[in-house]
């Protein structure tokens, strides 16, 4: 394995470079995935059947809390990568752990929100609008859930193996994923919630 010491650890091998590049291509696919969900949502937004409309069920408080939690987690994982580049492994693990805790908080609020929707008669089967709403939110939520497990696996590996080209590479790729989820949430926040409540 050839090491290139002029680069940060996560870019230091040829395979590492490929991994990061490939993940960017994957994020391109993710853009299209969420774009399709948005296409569906915007098309079905006003087709509420006998169910409630968006304005009737959206509430600003939980949504705002979720937004702040996810924004902060995205900032914190950025700090984690910065600490990693400084070689400060303890700080990095702390930042990553805080990120995951914030993510867990986000997920908790989202689950609460889902339960609330079902409770007030806006379940998955109610109408085309609710189906597309819950599927879009649910896909994002599933990504966050997957990210929690993934992040946990990475923290464990960094703890066990220290900062190697592999673990640094994995951590960096995970940070890309997490930032991306925040970007998606910004669009959900703006064009599903705020637009719906406007």
């Amino acid at each position: 394995m050839k090491l290139d010491h002029s680069q940060p650890l996560e870019y230091s091998t040829g395979q590492n470079n490929l991994n990061i590049f490939g993940f960017w291509i994957f994020l391109g696919a993710e853009i299209m995935l969420f774009a399709t969900l948005f296409t569906t949502y915007f098309t079905l937004e006003h087709r509420t059947g006998n169910g409630p409309t968006g304005a009737e069920i959206f509430e600003i408080t939980p949504v705002l809390i979720e937004t702040i939690l996810l924004l902060t987690s995205s900032f914190v994982i950025g700090l984690g990568i910065h600490a990693m580049r400084l070689g400060k492994i303890k700080a990095m693990i702390s930042f990553f752990s805080i990120t995951l805790l914030l993510g867990l908080g986000f997920l908790g609020f989202e689950i609460f929100e889902f339960v609330h929707y079902v409770h007030i008669g806006a379940g998955l089967q109610t109408s085309a609008f609710t189906a597309s709403l819950l599927t879009t939110l649910g896909t994002h939520g599933a990504h966050v859930t997957f990210g929690l497990f993934w992040g946990l696996a990475i923290i464990l590996q960094v703890k066990k193996r220290g900062l190697t080209p592999e673990t640094a590479n994995k951590s960096f790729i995970f940070s890309l994923y997490w930032h991306f989820l925040d970007v998606v949430w910004i669009f959900i926040f703006s064009f599903i919630y705020l637009k719906g409540m406007m």
Binding site: Y11, N17, I20, F21, W24, I25, L27, G28, A29, I31, M32, A35, T36, F38, T39, F42, T43, I60, L64, T67, I68, L71, T72, S74, F75, G78, L79, H82, A83, L86, K88, A91, S175, L176, H179, F180, D182, V183, I186, F187, F189, S190, F191, L194, K195, M197, M198
Partner: protein
């Protein structure tokens, strides 16, 4: 401790909070749908760009142009898909 909080990222975070607050104006202030939507489009895309450049370091290697090219291509096709569909089903049917 200070070196763990680089100014660029802290500024980025503050800026994204401000953008969120601006976007919230469409909920708390009374404005027309067109103006509100414009505000949302502007704040959302600036914030996405902020994440891309400041937090995701999209431009830090020599693959910069492939990465940006890929992302912009996808966003372009994404917008075509969204607006093409709305064109067909909402504005022209």
């Amino acid at each position: 401790m200070k070196e763990l909080f680089p100014a660029k990222q802290v500024m980025g975070f503050v800026f994204s909070l401000i953008l969120t607050a601006v976007a919230l104006a469409v909920y708390f202030l009374d404005m027309s749908f067109a103006i509100g939507l414009t505000v949302l489009v502007v704040t959302a895309f600036i914030q996405a760009l902020l994440q891309l450049v400041v937090f995701m370091h999209a431009g830090e290697t020599k693959d910069k142009w492939s990465i940006y090219g890929n992302v912009y291509f996808m966003i372009f096709i994404a917008l075509i898909t969204i607006f093409g569909t709305l064109f067909l089903f909402n504005w022209d049917m």
